[in-house]
């Protein structure tokens, strides 16, 4: 079917009974200029520790503090990408754990895997071995506060599509949790991410936005019909089923609103005050998903196809979507989980080590390998920062200047309360949070030592930088020096 263009007037006339009401949204108001550019927030995660069992100390944190910190193996991409000054880190952090029956604020159980993400993302105590959240994550709190009426209040992405050890990771593959405290399903497919953000725009990548096409009209008509049928079904259901379908209806309504808003905003979808003029290219088909690691004889075999789904490309694409969404003012908040907790992604195609990321911290690697694994995450985080810095804002700043970015990891290196070992990868001592951006005076490019402070306090400081002072779970104290 060849797409063609119709005027909006003729489209609405032809729709007849299928016409849909357009919600009034900020992006639909005519040429509204922002007094100041909006702030943005990124929360990222890597499912790795920072050092190897028994081989301390790790070499990722720099020795020099402040903005002039020296490059290290783990942080090398920051210099390589030329974003020194925009991307930095806070080091010597610690997620505390239960001791003598007492769980500290934001604490974890001594069980490592599955126990460290939630305290960092939500600032809450985590008493379960399951990685399921019990409170809202920082990105969702921020989205509620600063999302305004953007088309997508938040973007929730994951790069690594499956665990490679069977299944898709369950809650170990969920970084964000909603305001009700329930872990959220991330978008894993780059195609779906594209569809979600940009498919409602009618123009090819790089071109001006056109009049509405039949494809767009068809999409809206179908959604309207499906939403209506869902609504008609609701009264017929039992109370339990009604609750379930109501949730589905709400999601359909939200989707319809996003589609309508994206296709009817100024300039064919680009909201006023945006720093972009075009959409990114359609990524077409998703990269094939790699097989689980296979066992051959007594050896795990790490090949280019097992344990790898071209996460390199997936990360780049999803990063670009976040950047474009921020620049186009389609969203102001994003979470991106680069790798799953206890990550079994193969390191062969990425850094050439015959191991998955998890085992590299134990029997198949060393501290340098771990630094390279961390650096892979830092590279993508820094790439996103660099891209955000490429978009000028209306006041002469850049989008990165209006963004606060944080990326935390599953573990650090140090004492493991499970085994009692002094230097272990299963530790939440000596953790780092990689930072980026300058929103609200956020010193995203500096190296700050915050001995013993909770990583969620860094996240909380980033929240403060974008104007959100709501406590993050148990955490309500910012890290001194991280904001100018």
């Amino acid at each position: 079917m060849t797409p063609f263009r119709l005027s909006r007037r003729s489209v609405l006339r032809g729709l007849g009974g299928v016409g849909v009401a357009l919600p009034v949204m900020e992006i639909m108001t005519p040429t509204k200029a922002y007094a100041a550019p909006p702030t943005r927030f990124v929360m990222a995660y890597g499912g790795s520790s920072l050092g190897h069992d028994g081989a301390g100390p790790m070499t990722i944190p720099p020795k020099v503090t402040g903005p002039a910190w020296e490059s290290t193996k783990g942080m090398a991409p920051v210099a390589t990408l030329g974003v020194h000054g925009h991307v930095g880190l806070v080091s010597k952090l610690k997620v505390p754990w239960i001791e003598n029956g007492t769980m500290p604020p934001g604490g974890r159980t001594t069980a490592f895997h599955g126990g460290t993400l939630v305290p960092q993302a939500t600032g809450r105590k985590h008493t379960s071995r399951d990685a399921a959240a019990t409170g809202p994550s920082a990105d969702q709190i921020v989205a509620e506060a600063i999302g305004g009426t953007t088309i997508q209040k938040s973007l929730v992405y994951r790069v690594q599509p499956v665990s490679y050890a069977g299944g898709t990771g369950g809650n170990r593959g969920r970084l964000s949790s909603g305001l009700a405290g329930k872990s959220m399903d991330p978008i894993v497919s780059p195609r779906l991410a594209y569809q979600s953000l940009f498919a409602s725009f009618g123009a090819p990548a790089g071109a001006a936005m056109p009049a509405e096409s039949i494809d767009q009209l068809l999409r809206k008509s179908v959604l309207s019909l499906v939403k209506g049928e869902t609504e008609r079904l609701l009264p017929k259901l039992s109370s339990a089923d009604k609750l379930r379908l109501q949730r589905h209806f709400d999601e359909l309504r939200d989707l319809e609103g996003r589609v309508l808003a994206a296709s009817t905003g100024a300039a064919g979808g680009i909201p006023p005050g945006a720093s972009c003029t075009s959409r990114p290219a359609d990524p077409a088909a998703d990269p094939p998903v790699g097989a689980n690691h296979s066992i051959s004889g007594d050896q795990l075999t790490f090949t280019a196809t097992a344990g790898y789904s071209n996460e390199e490309m997936r990360a780049a694409v999803l990063n670009e979507f976040i950047a474009m969404a921020f620049a186009c003012n389609l969203s102001r908040v994003a979470s991106i989980m680069y790798t799953l907790t206890q990550c079994f992604m193969s390191m062969v195609p990425l850094i050439g080590v015959q191991s998955d990321l998890h085992e590299m911290g134990h029997s198949r690697g060393n501290n340098d390998n771990m630094a390279d694994g961390v650096a892979w995450h830092v590279k993508h985080f820094a790439t996103l920062a660099k891209r955000l810095a490429s978009f000028p804002e209306t006041d002469g700043k850049t989008v990165l200047d209006c963004t606060a970015m944080v990326m935390f990891f599953e573990g650090g290196q140090g004492f493991d309360p499970e085994t009692g070992r002094a230097v272990d990868a299963h530790s939440t001592e000596n953790m780092i949070v990689v930072t980026g951006g300058h929103a609200g005076g956020f010193a995203g490019g500096s190296h700050i030592v915050a001995s013993g402070r909770h990583p969620a306090e860094v996240v909380f400081t980033a929240m403060n930088a974008v104007g959100v002072t709501t406590p993050l779970g148990d955490i309500s104290t910012p890290v001194a020096g991280l904001r100018a």
Binding site: S10, V156, G166, D185, S189, L225, E251
Partner: protein, 561 residues
């Protein structure tokens, strides 16, 4: 108020409850006495399916309507979604699991109580619908078959109405009401605007593929007089229950026809339909997948060639016992032959068939028998480098015996194996750490089961010493505490069958799979007990068990949650 039918509990579950750091055995209604009462006894469904010496007993009563368990709206799992699109549109593309949110495994992929709608779901469904429709429209032959009429032009109301009515009946698994048809026909304006009839088809198909009644199996039914909260399902709802249980997909034309003619009104009629459906190849695949999810071999960790050989071996065993030979289900665990080629035979250390093509060969003096001796089972409960007696024992207790075991208390290390004790790195010594303090209560029940499988490595090969510690001999002796000692997977299966543990569990797991709920309540347990009792007093064939479940009055009713 839910009425609990007055039925006996003919079999007991060993319910291990972790309290204060130790396990307390609580067995059904009986006082806590550890696992001793897991031994076979009166009422336990110890039917061994044709075991010599077991005298025939009268068939137990069938379940009754008042035993109908609760049922809720069920979203198609990713596997069901793919199969349904395949059967509805003739589209084998699949792959919806890479777009839709994860289906949690409990161990099955269809627990509706875990299903929550999300942005990712609705956007994923929309994308999948657009993809499937796009493929359909490009394939003009398939398109013509699905549409079913030849449009006279861009505006052909009669053809569009015929398509909406017939396709909608299949997509939603029920006839459309007139007003529904009318609403779908409004999409015809799109085709007129585009001067292309198939633009309307595009919109209609995409709308049906996102319709809540396509994406979910929604059961309404009609209230049953004198049975508060119980509803009799419509014929179409029964047809969908049947097809998704037996095929994992939508009803066939023949099944729709039965529903249209109101031939699914009675349990006997439903049972007859199910009997026919079991002859469809999809039933074989469905029942193999049930076992694969339950017993843990859906995703094998071995190298591709070995994994394929193991998957073929296990699938052949299940098909032979259930469909080809129609043996008692228990023979899956005691079959003295296995379906292998020379490579897998060599892997097991048995005599192969003399070629690469798999054939049935005797296990012979290897000591192996049945599914638990196959690599597809022995790979479960292993760590990357070796088998784990704890993980294997836990898997057997939880999955095969249906004994819920609480997780260890916070702070207990389960990621690493117990460390060596001084210079002694043998597993027996290392795992002795579990015999201390609060660990002991549970691990005394778990680890001995795993140690009984230790003579078989993580790929199912026989061994006499530990892989990394050749100085450590493996005795291969284990115990189901309270039942008896065993050595190796064949004896484990024998002890479990004698005790009725597997018999009980297969019925319970089948009910979970059929009902789409993992957490069972008293009603479920009463129904399961009745079905298990009946199976134990018959020949315990799996197809008969399924037909008993399907032919029960509870299958054509639902209880409001």
């Amino acid at each position: 108020m839910r009425l609990i039918p007055a039925v006996s509990r003919p079999w007991s579950f060993v319910f291990l409850v972790l309290a204060g750091g130790s396990c307390t055995g609580v067995i059904g209604d009986t006082p806590a006495t550890g696992l001793a009462s897991a031994a076979p006894g009166p009422g336990r469904p110890s039917g061994t399916g044709g075991t010599p010496g077991v005298a025939p007993v009268p068939t137990a009563a069938a379940p009754t309507v008042d035993m109908t368990p609760p049922a809720g709206m069920r979203r198609l799992s990713a596997a069901e979604y793919d199969a349904t699109v395949r059967d509805l549109l003739g589209d084998p593309a699949g792959g919806s699991n890479l777009v839709l949110p994860d289906d949690s495994r409990t161990p099955f992929d269809n627990d509706y109580t875990n299903q929550t709608s999300s942005k990712t779901l609705v956007e994923g469904v929309e994308l999948l619908a657009a993809d499937a429709t796009g493929r359909l429209l490009k394939d003009t032959t398939r398109r013509a078959r699905v549409v079913g009429c030849q449009p006279a032009g861009a505006k052909d109301d009669a053809c569009l109405k015929s398509f909406v009515t017939s396709f909608g009946r299949r997509a939603l698994r029920r006839p459309l009401a007139d007003d529904e048809v009318t609403r779908f026909l409004t999409l015809g304006s799109l085709g007129q605007m585009a001067n292309d009839f198939y633009v309307s088809v595009n919109a209609v198909v995409r709308a049906f593929l996102q319709h809540p009644s396509f994406l979910h199996r929604i059961e309404l039914g009609t209230p049953v007089a004198g049975q508060p909260g119980i509803y009799k399902l419509s014929d179409d709802e029964v047809a969908a229950r049947l097809s998704y249980l037996l095929w994992g997909s939508m009803p066939s034309a023949a099944l729709f026809d039965l529903a249209d003619r109101k031939r699914l009104e009675t349990p006997d009629a439903v049972r007859a339909a199910a009997t026919d459906m079991l002859t469809d190849p999809r039933a074989r695949d469905r029942i193999k997948r049930f076992h694969a999810m339950w017993i843990g071999f859906e995703e094998l960790k071995q190298a591709p060639e070995l994994a394929d050989a193991m998957r073929t071996e296990t699938g052949a065993l299940i098909e032979r016992v259930i469909f080809d030979d129609r043996r008692p289900w228990q023979d899956i665990f005691r079959m003295d032959e296995t379906f292998v080629g020379d490579a897998l035979a060599k892997h097991y250390g048995i005599t192969g068939p003399g070629g690469t093509q798999p054939q049935w060969v005797k296990w012979g003096p290897s000591g192996r028998r049945g599914l638990l001796s196959q690599g597809s089972f022995l790979q479960v409960g292993t760590k990357a480098n070796d088998s784990s007696p704890t993980m294997r024992g836990l898997f057997v207790r939880r999955n095969l015996f249906c004994q819920p075991i609480a997780p260890p208390p916070p702070g207990v290390n389960t990621d690493n194996v117990p460390p060596a004790v001084g210079a002694d790195a043998c597993k027996k010594t290392r795992y002795a750490a579990h015999d201390q303090g609060g660990c002991r209560g549970c691990h005394d029940q778990i680890d001995p089961v795993g140690f009984g499988l230790e003579a078989y490595d993580k790929e199912g090969r026989f061994r006499t010493t530990e892989a990394d510690h050749p100085e450590c001999p493996i005795s291969g002796e284990g115990e189901i505490v309270g039942v008896g000692r065993f050595k190796g997977p064949a004896e484990l299966a024998a002890r479990a069958l004698e005790a009725g543990l597997l018999n009980s569990c297969v019925v319970e797991q089948l009910h979970r799979f059929a009902s789409g709920r993992t957490n069972l309540d008293d009603l479920d347990r009463a129904l399961v007990a009745r079905l298990a009792d009946r199976a134990g007093k018959k020949d315990f064939r799996f197809d008969t068990l399924m037909l008993d479940l399907i032919g029960s009055p509870t299958f054509v009713h639902r209880r409001e949650e």
